[in-house]
C-alpha cells in the first residue's frame, strides 16, 4: 500500500508515517504484538531462545525527513535495508541499485547513510529526501554516523571523514600512528568519540589487541584519549559499537579476553559521560553489540552463533523483546565480506599439476599417517609412565600405548619432556576419541592433545 510511487510525495510521506506507526516504530514495543519474542529480564537467556527471524511483512520508503527521523531501527538484513520495529520488519524500497554488500547503516531525521562494501575501496551512500549522494572512497569505509545537525562522519581506517550538511568533506587523521580509527559517534555537534585500535606488534601480528575511545574536538582539531584500557601479549581488550545518548553520554561494549583462553571473553556495557567519567554499567550475559537507542531504550544486536544472523533485541521494563533481525553497526555474518571473498586471483591455488611441489611428494605409495592422543607434557618420565599406566587401565592392556619423548615423537613433543601416547586406528574419528579420553581421564583434560607422532 505504500511503495507504488518512485518519488516521495508529501502524501506518501504521510502514508509512510502512518505505516511506520502501524509497525510500531513510533509507539515502542507493545506486549500485545505477537511478532516479538520475549527474552527473560536480567538478560539471562541465551540468544538461541530468540525466535527465528521474521519475514519482512511490508515495504516502506522511509526517506522523507519526517519518516526517516522516526523510523525505529533501520538495519541491514541479507544485503537489503529493512526497517525493524516492534510491529514487524519492512523492506526499504527505492534504494539506489548496488553491486557490493550493504553494511553499517545509520538513520536520522536527515536521512539514511550506509556503506556499500566492495573488494577494496568502498562507497558511502547517503539517501535523503533531496536525493542520493554516492561518495566513492579510496579505502575501506566503515561506521557512518549522523551528527545532531546533519553532518555525517565515517571511518576510512587511518582516519575519519566528516561531510558537512552543505556537502564539504573534511579529512581527520587518526590520533595514533599506525592505528585504526572506527565507530565514530557524535557526542555533540562539535565533538566526536571514536574507537582506536592500536597497531599490531611482533607478538600480536593481527587481530584485536588494544582499543580505547578517543574524543575529537572539531573546533580545536585535537584528539584526546577518553579511556585508558590496557592489554598485554595474551590479554586483550576491545571496544565496540559506541552509541550516543542525550547529554553527551556515550555507551559502548567493552570485551576483554585472552588469546589462549578456551572460553568466550567477557562482554560488558560501559558508559562515558560528557565530563569524561568512565564506568562499567554491567556485565553482559554473552556476546552482543549495541545497535542504537530507540525511545530511550537500548536496542542490541545479538548474534545467533549457528546461523550468523543477528537479532535486534530491545530492552524494556518487563525484560527484552525481539524486534526482528539485521545489523546496524555489526558486521553481517550471513553474507560473505567482499574483501574476503574467494576469488581466482593470482595467488589462488592453480589447477592441475604443480611440478614444484610434486618433486617433494615423497614415495608414490600412499602412506596413512599415524594419529594419536598424547597426554603431556610431563617434566619427569615417571609422570608419563603413570599416565600411560592409567591409559592402559582404561583402554586395556593391548591398547597401543607407550611413553614417548622427542626422540620417538619428534613432531609432537619438545625435547626434555615426556608424554604418554596412544596410537589411534587409521579410520578413527580423532575428535570423538579425544572427547572419550577426556571423559575417561578427566584429570588430564587440559593436558591431552591430538598429534601426529
Amino acid at each position: 500500500m505504500l511503495r507504488r510511487s518512485w518519488f516521495v510525495l508529501p502524501s506518501t510521506v504521510v502514508a509512510v508515517a502512518l505505516a511506520l506507526a502501524g509497525l510500531g516504530f513510533f509507539s515502542g514495543p507493545s506486549p500485545a504484538q505477537a511478532d516479538g519474542a520475549e527474552i527473560a529480564s536480567g538478560h539471562r537467556r541465551s540468544p538461541s531462545n530468540v525466535t527465528s527471524c521474521p519475514v519482512a511483512s511490508a515495504t516502506v520508503r522511509p526517506f522523507g525527513s519526517e519518516a526517516a527521523g522516526s523510523s525505529g531501527i533501520v538495519a541491514v538484513r541479507r544485503n537489503r535495508l529493512v526497517a525493524v520495529g516492534a510491529g514487524g520488519t519492512a523492506r526499504l524500497a527505492g534504494l539506489p541499485a548496488h553491486t557490493g554488500m550493504l553494511r553499517h547503516v545509520t538513520a536520522s531525521r536527515f536521512g539514511v547513510a550506509y556503506v556499500e562494501d566492495r573488494f577494496g575501496p568502498d562507497v558511502v551512500v547517503i539517501v535523503t529526501d533531496h536525493g542520493t549522494v554516492r561518495l566513492p572512497q579510496r579505502a575501506e569505509a566503515v561506521n557512518p554516523a549522523w551528527s545532531p545537525r546533519g553532518d555525517l562522519a565515517w571511518s576510512v581506517g587511518t582516519g575519519l571523514r566528516i561531510r558537512s550538511r552543505a556537502g564539504t568533506v573534511t579529512a581527520v587523521p587518526g590520533p595514533v600512528q599506525g592505528g585504526t580509527v572506527f565507530s565514530p559517534v557524535f557526542e555533540s555537534p562539535d565533538r566526536i568519540v571514536a574507537a582506536v585500535s592500536m597497531p599490531p606488534t611482533l607478538a600480536v601480528p593481527e587481530d584485536e589487541r588494544l582499543n580505547n575511545l578517543w574524543s575529537y574536538d572539531r573546533v580545536s582539531e585535537r584528539w584526546r584519549a577518553a579511556t585508558h584500557f590496557s592489554a598485554g601479549v595474551d590479554r586483550w581488550t576491545a571496544v565496540r559499537t559506541p552509541v550516543a545518548r542525550p547529554g553527551g553520554v556515550v555507551e559502548f561494549v567493552r570485551i576483554t579476553g585472552r588469546g589462549t583462553a578456551t572460553h568466550l571473553p567477557s562482554f560488558q556495557l560501559w558508559r562515558l559521560t560528557a565530563s569524561g567519567a568512565v564506568a562499567r554499567l554491567r556485565t553482559l550475559a554473552g556476546e552482543r553489540y549495541l545497535a542504537g537507542i530507540e525511545g530511550g531504550r537500548r536496542v542490541w544486536q545479538v548474534p545467533d552463533v549457528r546461523s550468523g544472523a543477528f537479532h535486534l533485541v530491545a530492552e524494556g521494563p518487563g525484560g527484552e523483546r525481539q524486534l526482528g533481525c539485521g545489523t546496524t553497526s555489526a558486521d553481517p555474518l550471513d553474507t560473505a565480506d567482499p574483501d574476503r571473498r574467494s576469488r581466482r586471483g593470482r595467488f589462488a591455488p592453480p589447477r592441475g599439476h604443480w611440478p614444484s611441489l610434486e618433486e617433494h611428494a615423497g614415495s608414490a605409495a600412499e602412506q596413512i599417517p599415524e594419529v594419536g592422543l598424547l597426554l603431556g607434557d610431563f617434566a619427569e618420565r615417571k609422570e608419563a609412565e603413570e599416565a600411560a599406566a592409567k591409559m592402559l587401565q582404561t583402554y586395556g592392556a593391548n591398547a597401543p600405548i607407550q611413553v614417548v619423548d622427542s626422540s620417538t615423537a619428534p613432531e609432537a613433543i619438545l625435547p626434555g619432556v615426556y608424554g604418554a601416547l596412544m596410537i589411534l586406528s587409521s579410520d578413527a574419528d580423532v575428535m570423538a576419541a579425544l572427547t572419550d579420553l577426556r571423559q575417561r581421564l578427566p584429570e588430564y583434560r587440559d593436558e591431552s592433545w591430538v598429534v601426529t607422532p
Partner: protein, 210 residues
C-alpha cells in the same frame, strides 16, 4: 610409530680428516641448535590426500561453524604439532589448532616441510589458535576456531602485498611455504590471506568466504 630423528640439512663436505671432524662438529651444532625442529618424516612419507587428510573445506560463516563448532573452546586448540622457529629462530615450539585439520597440518604440511629438508624455511612467528576479534570488527578471527595458521609473520605482516620467503637461516625459499599450504591439486586447501583486498601474507585458513 615412526621415528624421525635425523635432520638434515646437508652438511658441506670439507675434505680430509680435519674436514670430516669439522663437518661432524657442524652437524652436531645443527642438531643441537634445532633439535626437534629439524625432524623429518621417515623415508616413504607421502601426502595424505584422502578425505581424512584433506577434509572438505567450509565456505562462509555457517559452514565454518557447522564444521569446527563454536569458537574459543578447548576443542579449537586440541591438536598440535612442533614447528621450527616458532617464536625464535631455530627454536621449536608448539602450534595448536583444531583436530579437523590435524592430519592436513601435522602430516601434509609439516611433513612436507621436513621431507623437503626445508625446516629452516619457517621464520618467527608461527601460530594458529588465538581467541580474538578481527581488529575493528564484530567478526571473530578464524584463529578463534583454530582453523587458520600464521607463519613467518615477522617478515610478512598484514598489509604487505608480497611474500618474503627468507627463512631462519637467511636463505630465500621463495614461495615454498605458501605453495605447501595451498598445495598442488588437489592441494592442501588452505586459503592464503594475500588474496584479500588488504593482503595478509602470513595467514592461511581452512575456510573461504569468511
Amino acid at each position: 610409530m615412526q621415528s624421525r630423528t635425523d635432520p638434515k640439512k646437508p652438511v658441506p663436505w670439507v675434505g680430509g680428516g680435519a674436514g670430516v671432524a669439522l663437518a661432524c662438529v657442524m652437524w652436531a651444532g645443527i642438531v643441537w641448535a634445532s633439535p626437534s625442529a629439524s625432524a623429518s618424516p621417515e623415508p616413504g612419507w607421502a601426502h595424505d590426500h584422502s578425505a581424512r587428510g584433506i577434509p572438505p573445506r567450509p565456505s562462509g560463516y555457517s559452514e565454518m561453524v557447522h564444521t569446527f563448532g563454536p569458537k574459543c573452546t578447548d576443542r579449537s586448540h586440541s591438536a598440535r604439532s612442533l614447528w621450527p622457529s616458532q617464536s625464535k629462530p631455530f627454536t621449536a615450539g608448539y602450534v595448536n589448532y583444531h583436530p579437523y585439520i590435524q592430519r592436513d597440518v601435522s602430516w601434509n604440511v609439516r611433513g612436507h616441510v621436513s621431507d623437503a629438508r626445508k625446516d629452516a624455511a619457517p621464520y618467527p612467528g608461527v601460530g594458529a589458535y588465538n581467541c580474538r576479534l578481527i581488529a575493528g570488527s564484530t567478526s571473530w578471527s578464524v584463529h578463534s576456531w583454530g582453523a587458520a595458521v600464521d607463519t613467518n609473520w615477522q617478515r610478512n605482516p598484514m598489509g604487505q602485498d608480497h611474500w618474503n620467503g627468507h627463512g631462519a637461516d637467511g636463505v630465500n625459499y621463495g614461495t615454498f611455504l605458501p605453495d605447501v599450504w595451498r598445495g598442488a591439486a588437489p592441494g592442501h586447501h588452505f586459503f592464503w590471506g594475500i588474496n584479500w583486498s588488504r593482503p595478509d601474507p602470513m595467514h592461511f585458513q581452512y575456510v573461504t568466504n569468511y
